[in-house]
């Protein structure tokens, strides 16, 4: 299958579109510079001043229901069909649900945990809890039972809203540790028929019960409305548990007013309106999903679409065509990898056309998107490229209608970033934290650089300490860590700035913030050369064959790397080259795979050699791990960032072998299966030496 399966009709439409595109270079794009935009955001501007009536989420929901009640608020694909709920419907459901939860005993200030993926009923749970002035606590759906138990116990959850049997089973398996748990409400009843735990009740039944009770009891109606009326900006909106890059997860407490103020700023910054569409596919418990989709959706009044299931995300994204899109760098990377793999299987003529027009895009694309002068011939060629390659490609990826795309979470490879911008996707970077309720900095349209994260977001105050740490104050910044005064005090400065723990500086040329690394991860080699592990890892990960990389070098004599290969890309390559393998482990240890990856590593070394500061941190030895790094084993965080220190301990024999010159090392590691069982994987891992480039400095006596 190639990516070229546009219909004739679409091609004709596209032809016209491309012609227009170069005649009218502004077609299909909108430029909004900060401060210049005066697009009204549904009257928030005036209403927000002085606190305003819309200082809580239930009030925003009522406003949306009154102002554009017939417009879609939420979509979800169910039984193959996109189901839509309008703002008016959502408001009715949430009111009934709140009444039902109230009857189950959920009271002001109590917590209700939400475990599962992006489902309307789970978002309604958050809304209904907020309507009762109770506190929703979303939990990562792939958390293993122990992690779940920790959060539920720490947050003292009285109720749990679980998506399906899998999540219910997890909660039940640890319920003896949760004496305060009264009810487990669930979305999907399948498989739960035979359960006779009296604490189980379907969300649908809770809503119906609430609806019936509302119809029957005037007193309850009054009570629920009263809760909404009495809601204040200082109420706790939500507690988001951090994924725990740095140890056990902490509950970040966010205030309602803070959340709404922050989102009001960014909605205005990106001119989001009720006509925008977002695709809610990232973990419900992650600050990004909650902020970008839930909060911005309520503030701007746009529609949020939930995918049918985790496996259908690509198709669903294509069907929905979001206009505002977020993906972490690895999301964009995975997309590009898939395109590259499929192009390798395409006919030669298509391959040639693809690479030719990508060359054109590289030359002119970014300039056209940013609005810089481009020669007419360049515009013509680029217009043709849009017709033949870029637009069909974006269509297949489901990015055709995207007006604003963001990436964040970690540094994005320069080439990767340039690729998407060059094909006309308005991809920008932001830098944020759960403690800031996301935005600290973000790039305005027209000021995009791959190596910066942009200037301070609206109303955010940033300073860099002498030690190089980034600190900020922002409208959305957190109230504190739940039940953890000590940690809160540790993170806040006396004058109320939040310490990010990231090292960064303001770029003199652009005025944008640049993040180097986690402050405590930046180290030095034995000879004093600065060693920024993430910088190297990101360079490595840009290659389609390399999925994950962990580099070592702090206080060592040279840099070494542990790699994970990308199964999809390497398996495809193996198939085309008739290489037989039985498992990931076998593929990872194949000598030809090592050869191929060694070429990528050499390429990284070549690019490092060009940068004076980094030349000393070329990778001298590497190995390919026998298993994929996994969050279930604690090697990655739930947001899939590598936990370098933990990996160094867990694979200590391999680290030792990397530095003692041996070419093989035995390792046995415990792994956790998806159902929570544990097992062990043993392997003999090979180590490959690399030649440093430029400096004629052979690997010292260490090897």
């Amino acid at each position: 299958m190639s990516i070229w399966y546009l219909s004739e009709f679409q091609s004709v439409v596209m032809l016209g579109y491309a012609a227009l595109a170069w005649l009218l270079p502004e077609t299909g794009r909108r430029h909004h510079k900060q401060g210049r935009t005066n697009a009204p955001v549904f009257g928030i501007e005036s209403d927000m001043a002085g606190g305003g009536p819309f200082d809580t989420f239930p009030k925003l929901l009522l406003r949306n229901s009154a102002q554009f009640g017939a417009r879609p608020a939420l979509r979800h694909k169910d039984l193959g069909i996109w189901q839509t709920w309008t703002w008016a419907q959502v408001a009715e459901i949430v009111r009934a649900y709140a009444a039902g939860l109230h009857r189950l005993g959920l009271r002001r200030g109590e917590t209700i945990a939400v475990v599962g993926s992006n489902r309307p009923k789970l978002y309604w749970t958050i809304m209904a809890a907020q309507a009762l002035r109770a506190i929703p606590v979303p939990v990562y759906s792939d958390a293993v039972a122990d992690e779940l138990a920790f959060v539920l116990a720490h947050a003292e959850a009285k109720l749990v809203a679980a998506q399906d049997q899998e999540q219910v089973d997890k909660v039940l398996s640890v319920s003896d540790r949760l004496p305060q748990l009264d009810w487990i409400v669930y979305d999907e009843p399948r498989g739960l028929d035979g359960y006779n735990d009296s604490r189980l009740i379907a969300i649908g039944d809770v809503i119906q019960d609430g609806r019936d009770a509302l119809a029957a009891e005037a007193e309850l109606r009054e009570q629920i409305d009263e809760f909404v009326r009495k809601g204040e900006g200082s109420d706790i909106a939500i507690i988001l548990y951090t994924s725990g890059t740095t140890g056990a997860s902490k509950g970040v407490v966010l205030s309602t007013q803070g959340c709404i103020d922050a989102a009001t700023d960014t909605v205005r910054f990106d001119s989001l309106t009720g006509n925008d569409v977002v695709f809610a596919y990232l973990p419900l418990a992650w600050v990004g999903d909650h902020y970008l989709n839930y909060v911005q959706g309520l503030v701007a009044g746009f529609c949020m679409a939930c995918p049918e299931s985790g496996e259908t995300i690509e198709q669903d994204r294509r069907e929905i065509g979001p206009t505002f899109y977020f993906a972490p760098p690895r999301g964009f990377e995975a997309m590009l990898t898939r395109v590259v793999i499929r192009m390798e299987d395409a006919a030669p003529i298509k391959r040639r056309m693809f690479s030719y027009f990508l060359g054109v895009a590289r030359r002119y694309g970014e300039s056209i998107l940013t609005g810089n002068p481009v020669p007419l011939s360049g515009r013509l060629l680029y217009g043709l490229g849009r017709l033949l390659v870029y637009e069909p490609l974006k269509n297949v990826l489901g990015l055709s209608r995207v007006r604003i795309a963001y990436t964040a979470g970690e540094a994005i490879g320069q080439d990767l970033f340039a690729f998407y911008r060059s094909i006309g996707l308005n991809l920008k970077q932001l830098y944020g934290q759960t403690e800031a309720f996301l935005y600290v900095t973000c790039q305005p349209d027209g000021e995009i650089y791959s190596d910066t994260v942009g200037p301070a977001a609206p109303n955010v105050d940033i300073r860099i300490t002498e030690a190089g740490e980034v600190q900020f104050r922002s409208p959305g910044m957190f109230v504190g860590y739940f039940k953890d005064q000590a940690k809160t005090a540790e993170t806040m400065t006396p004058d109320d700035y939040v310490k990010t723990g990231d090292a960064g500086f303001f770029d003199e040329k652009t005025g944008h913030l640049k993040i180097i690394d986690r402050a405590k991860d930046v180290g030095r080699l034995a000879d004093g050369t600065m060693f920024a592990p993430k910088f190297l890892e990101n360079k490595l990960k840009f290659f389609p064959n390399i999925k994950e990389a962990v580099t070592f070098g702090d206080s060592k004599e040279f840099v070494c790397a542990m790699l994970n290969i990308d199964t999809a890309a390497v398996a495809n390559w193996a198939e085309r080259n008739n290489i037989a393998y039985g498992s990931y482990q076998e593929l990872a240890s194949h000598p030809l795979v090592y050869d191929m990856v060694a070429k990528d590593v050499a390429e990284v070394n070549r690019s490092l050699a060009k940068e004076k500061v980094m030349a000393g941190t070329q990778i001298r030895r590497f190995l390919i791990l026998h298993k994929e790094l996994d969050a279930d084993d604690g090697e990655l965080t739930r947001t899939l960032k590598v936990r370098r220190r933990f990996i160094a301990e867990r694979y200590a024999p391999l680290v030792t072998a990397l530095y003692n010159g041996s070419h093989e090392a035995d390792i046995s590691t415990e792994v956790t299966f998806e159902d929570g069982r544990k097992g062990a994987i043993a392997a003999r891992v090979k180590i490959r030496d690399m030649q440093a480039i430029g400096a004629a400095d052979p690997l010292g006596k260490a090897a």
């Binding site: 039984l79 193959g80 069909i81 399948r190 299931s309 198709q315």
Partner: protein, 261 residues
Amino acid sequence: MRAPDTNEVLLQVEGVALAFGGVRALRDVSFNIRKGEIRAIIGPNGAGKTSMLNVINGFYHPDHGAITFKGRTRARMQPFEAARGGIARTFQNVALFKGMSALDNIMAGRTLKVRRGLLWQMLRYGPALAEEVEHRHRVEEIIDFLEIEAIRKVPVARLPYGLQKRVELGRALAMEPDLLLLDEPMAGMNLEEKEDMSRFIIDVNNHYGTTIALIEHDMAVVMDLSHRVAVLDHGVKIADGTPDEVKRNQAVIDAYLGVAH
């Protein structure tokens, strides 16, 4: 595991014998299948399991004996009569339409439920369209049930084996059968796929209340899944009972492990 509530017999096999030339595949086999149960038929290679299944759904005609299904006794039955009567099956080596999508394959399972004629179907208008929408809805429920949303539009030939098996189960379910025959549903699967399939079989039984007869090689799977187990060896029924009874039966142990003569 919940046992079925009734003792009502859905299918009765009485003294069935079947021979292919000199090979006596089945010799005087009798057993019954109760409504709502999961009934396993196990045995070593060549024990006559698939022959038994083929006899039940009318693909083979027994030389002796009779089969009573839903109270009607007949010695001979054609496969299409079995299908009309509410017997659906899957095959040991997956018999799907390879070039068609998973969705179309499952839709094919609705064929017998289609009321409008060929002409109406070709027009695909008015009542025929409404009917198709209704069928599609049932099929989508099955797709949701089997968690194969992501492969709805993928030609089955491109699917891995485990998923093909699931699509085949979906097609059989689309018939809304009274009796579902599964011919080695776990054959050639890895452990994870086996666990998934076991879960689906139990869910089908729980959720739709479908009576299931399954043939299986993998003893562990069968013992966990089924309410009652019949054991065949060389065409003879050597044991019949609950999984625990069968596990303790010396004849079964001998047949599976072999005996020193």
